[in-house]
Structures are given as structure tokens and as C-alpha cells.
Amino acid sequence: MAKVTYRQPDGNVHVLDVEPGTSLMRAAVAAGLPGIVAECGGQLMCATCHVHVVDGGEGLPEMSDDERDMLELAAAPVDERSRLSCQLVVGENTPDVVVEIPERQL
């Protein structure tokens, strides 16, 4: 179980306990958090679950070439902290993670 902090662009903060095997996208959608659209439902086809990982990124899966390609379609500026949260599956030993949700997903 990892503690994941989602920071909204308006300053609101949500903290979720995410089970191993669950992605940060899936956890956010299940909890009804705003800001993570996930139009394609985690198929790595839409880039609408973009987040910036500000802490704890070392405990998350490495970026695949497919994820890198899809990030090019993200609506908000992409930087070295950018990830698609559908790919950020929590593991048994994932430390606490902090992500920022960008202003735009489309």
C-alpha cells in the first residue's frame, strides 16, 4: 500500500492509499478525483491522465517507448517529470508518491 498525494491545479490536495497492482490513474478515477480524465481507460491511447511526478518517482515503473510517444499528445506542457498515470502501477515496496495534476488534459 502506497500513500499517493494528488495536487490539483487549484491547490486542492487529495491523498489516497493505493493497493499494489493498481495504477495511479485507476485509483484516482475510482475515488472520483477531478483532473484525471483517462478517456481510453488505461490503454495508453489518449494521454488524458498526464501527471507530473514530484516525489517518489523512483518507486514507479520505468517509462516505455509507447508511453513516451503518447506523452507527445498531452495537452499540458510536458517536462522530465511528466508521466501517464495509467502506467504508474504501485508495487509492493513503492514509497509514498506525490503527483501534480496539470491544468489541461485536452
Partner: protein, 410 residues
């Protein structure tokens, strides 16, 4: 309350008052003439889209089984071709096909196609202006997506007019045409799809001999997992889905904007609003009206008992104007925030494969259209087609200020 015929003139010209009434009074409503439940609220439609185990997409095989023998003999040829499309399958069959299609699609690196699409749009607009053509649908909205998908599939671009015609005929069944085309729609669709498949069979054979960097060559490279029939079926679907709906999105964008000329001018002045405007068109007048699902077990929703095996229509056109989700939903507003996101591309496992491609094409095309066609306006009234599943115009005659004329004094 009085039910309305979804294919009748009222629901074709102005469907929104009826949807608003259903959302308010009967969010789950049986439509006897369609033999389907109409599901009209955003949350319920989203549930229907994201819970495939309860709301099945496997709708053609069960339909064929239910038909009386005479009708079945008539419909089977066309429906059996569509039966294996991934849009009408459930996991795990769907997952297998969709995973391959996703990979082939991603392999096209659409983000890298921006410049090429921009050049394509400019070329079409040059020709449109030069020829004096006023039919925007035929001159621009059709050839743009058809050319893009042809290139992605590895088909010669000059063939686009041919598969455009086949695709039009296939749409009669796939989207449930009304009007004069309804009676003979199955025969016409079969003719179209047969020719399209013949064409694709040859294209696949050519690409098998000399592969390129297109989607078909990619899928051929994975062939231990996709047999010839499956590949043909998938390519037919992608070619069909790849341009019909984008054409309609482009046309509907122009309809919305020309009917709100102040916003059209705002967009012309500030192209940074384009992505917002495209999402607003998808919400306000998206090309897909209804997605169909079959319910797999008895379920109670808003006091109605839906039985296992019943058909439901998930009415995107209504969900996207649900006042529970969108402020002032009947107002077209290109400055509307893009979240919550409309359901125009669906949601969940069957979400439109080409959603980001469609967005890219329209986002690139719109500002160029407005720039190249100053004073853009409709020439005549908009006529919507009678259709169960799509929101489509009959044609789109436009007018604009010719550049050859001197600019009018202000």
C-alpha cells in the same frame, strides 16, 4: 409522456428538447419502435460504457440468432462481415484485437504527422478556393480524413474517392440510416463492403510482398496472432471508422461556429482557443449520437427493470447536455472548460481508437479553414440526416468573401 420516433423529422431536426425531458422524467425509457431502452443521463451512460461485463457490445451475433429465417437470410451477408469487428465484441476477444490495433495505431506516431496534415489541409483549401467549389463536405471534410487514414493503412492516396463511396454505403447499416435509404440499406452496404474488402485484399497482398511503415504492414508483422479474415475485418473497420466520423466532426464544427458567428470571430482572432472549441463541438454536436449495448443480467435502474438480453441505447447526445454535469448545457461556448469531458468518443475499453487523431486533424484544420475562408458562412439551411446513431449533415454549402474581390470598406 409521448415517445418520439428517433428517425422522424422532429428527432432529426431538433432532438434536444426530447432528451432533456427524458433526462428529467424518464432517464431509462423503453422505446418500442427501436426495441431498446434509452439511457439519457451522463452518469448512467458512462456506467454503460465502462462496465462491459454488464453492458455487452457483442450485439451482432445475438441479433442474427434472434431473427426470423427470411429476415436472417437477407441480413446475414452484411451482418456476418460486421460481426467480428472489435466494436461489437467483448473481452477477451475484444482485448486481443484492440491491443493489436492500439499498437499498430501508436506505431504511426500521429504527433509527428502534424506538419504533413497541415500541408494536406492547405492543399485541399487551395484547391477548394481555386475551383470555386462551395460544398465544404465534398471539397474538404471528406478528403482530409480519407487521405490521412489511407496513408496510415498504406493505401495509395488517389484511391480515397473509391473507399469513400464504399464507406458511405456501409454507414447506412452501421449507423442505422433512416429516410429513403432505410429499405435497401442492407443490400447497398453489402455491395459497398464487398468491394471494399476486395480492394483491401489486394492491398494486403501487395504490402505482404513489399511492407512499408504503415499499419497493415505492422499487423502483418504480427501475423502469428491475426489470421487473414481477422486482418481484413480489422482493416475494413479502421478504414471505415477512420474517416466517416471525422468528416462529420469537421462539418459539425462549421455548423456550430457559423451558427455562432461571434464565437467564430473570437476563434479566428485567438487560435489558442481551438482545442477548447473542438471539445465543445464534440459535446454540443458530436458526430456519434448513440452507442448500443446488450444487458447481460437483470438490472434495476431508476425504477425500471431492464432484463438480461434487452438492448440499451446509450445516448451520448443527451449525456453531453446533462445539466447534472455541465453548466448551462444547451449553450454552445468555445470557452467552456474541457473538464468534465464529454462522452463524444465514448469511454472505457471501446473508446474511439482514433480519438486523438481526429482531434489533431480538426485542431489543425479549423484555424486554417477560418484563415483561408474569410467571412465564412453557410449558404442555406442545415439539413440533418435521419439516422439512429449519427449526427450528420446532408451536405454543407458554404459561402465566404472571395480574396479576389477588393476588401469591403469598414
Amino acid at each position: 409522456m409521448k415517445g418520439l420516433d428517433l428517425l422522424g423529422p422532429e428527432m432529426t431536426e431538433q432532438p434536444h428538447p426530447y432528451w432533456a425531458q427524458l433526462r428529467r422524467e424518464q432517464p431509462v425509457c423503453w422505446d418500442g419502435s427501436q426495441t431498446a431502452w434509452l439511457i439519457t443521463r451522463y452518469e448512467d451512460v458512462r456506467t454503460g460504457l465502462t462496465e462491459p461485463q454488464l453492458f455487452s457490445s457483442n450485439r451482432i451475433a445475438p441479433l442474427l440468432e434472434k431473427l426470423a429465417p427470411a429476415r436472417r437470410a437477407k441480413l446475414e451477408p452484411i451482418l456476418s462481415i460486421m460481426r467480428d469487428w472489435m466494436v461489437v465484441t467483448d473481452p477477451p476477444a475484444h482485448t486481443r484485437l484492440r491491443t493489436l490495433a492500439n499498437a499498430a495505431f501508436r506505431g504511426q506516431r500521429i504527433a509527428a504527422m502534424k506538419n504533413w496534415i497541415a500541408e494536406l489541409v492547405d492543399g485541399l483549401l487551395d484547391e477548394f478556393v481555386r475551383s470555386g467549389n462551395t460544398d465544404f463536405m465534398a471539397g474538404v471534410a471528406y478528403p482530409l480524413p480519407a487521405t490521412v487514414i489511407a496513408r496510415m493503412l498504406g493505401a495509395p492516396q488517389e484511391d480515397r474517392d473509391r473507399f469513400q463511396r464504399w464507406s458511405d454505403e456501409l454507414a447506412l447499416v452501421a449507423f442505422g440510416a433512416g429516410g429513403e435509404a432505410r429499405e435497401e440499406r442492407h443490400e447497398r452496404a453489402l455491395r459497398g463492403v464487398t468491394e471494399l474488402q476486395e480492394y483491401l485484399r489486394e492491398l494486403i497482398a501487395t504490402l505482404r510482398k513489399s511492407p512499408g511503415d504503415d499499419m497493415i504492414s505492422f499487423l502483418l508483422g504480427q501475423q502469428e496472432r491475426l489470421d487473414d479474415d481477422e486482418l481484413l475485418s480489422l482493416c475494413t473497420l479502421i478504414l471505415f471508422a477512420g474517416h466517416e466520423t471525422t468528416t462529420n466532426l469537421l462539418c459539425n464544427s462549421l455548423v456550430c461556429l457559423t451558427q455562432h458567428p461571434d464565437q467564430l470571430e473570437e476563434l479566428r482572432a485567438d487560435p489558442s482557443l481551438v482545442p477548447n472549441a473542438v471539445e465543445e463541438v464534440l459535446r454540443y454536436e458530436g458526430p456519434i449520437k448513440i452507442l448500443v449495448r446488450w444487458v447481460t443480467e437483470d438490472v434495476e435502474l431508476h425504477g425500471q427493470r431492464i432484463r438480461s438480453g434487452d438492448r440499451v441505447y446509450l445516448v451520448l447526445q443527451s449525456a453531453n447536455r446533462d445539466e447534472r454535469v455541465f453548466d448551462d448545457p444547451e449553450t454552445f461556448d468555445i470557452r467552456r472548460p474541457t473538464q468534465p469531458v464529454h462522452l463524444g468518443f465514448g469511454r472505457g475499453p471501446h473508446t474511439c481508437l482514433g480519438a486523438q487523431l481526429a482531434r489533431l486533424e480538426v485542431r489543425i484544420a479549423l484555424p486554417r479553414i477560418l484563415e483561408r475562408l474569410p467571412g465564412l458562412r453557410l449558404a442555406g439551411d442545415v439539413t440533418w440526416k435521419s439516422s439512429v446513431a449519427t449526427r450528420v449533415v446532408e451536405g454543407l454549402q458554404v459561402d465566404y468573401d472571395s480574396r479576389r474581390e477588393p476588401a469591403p470598406a469598414r
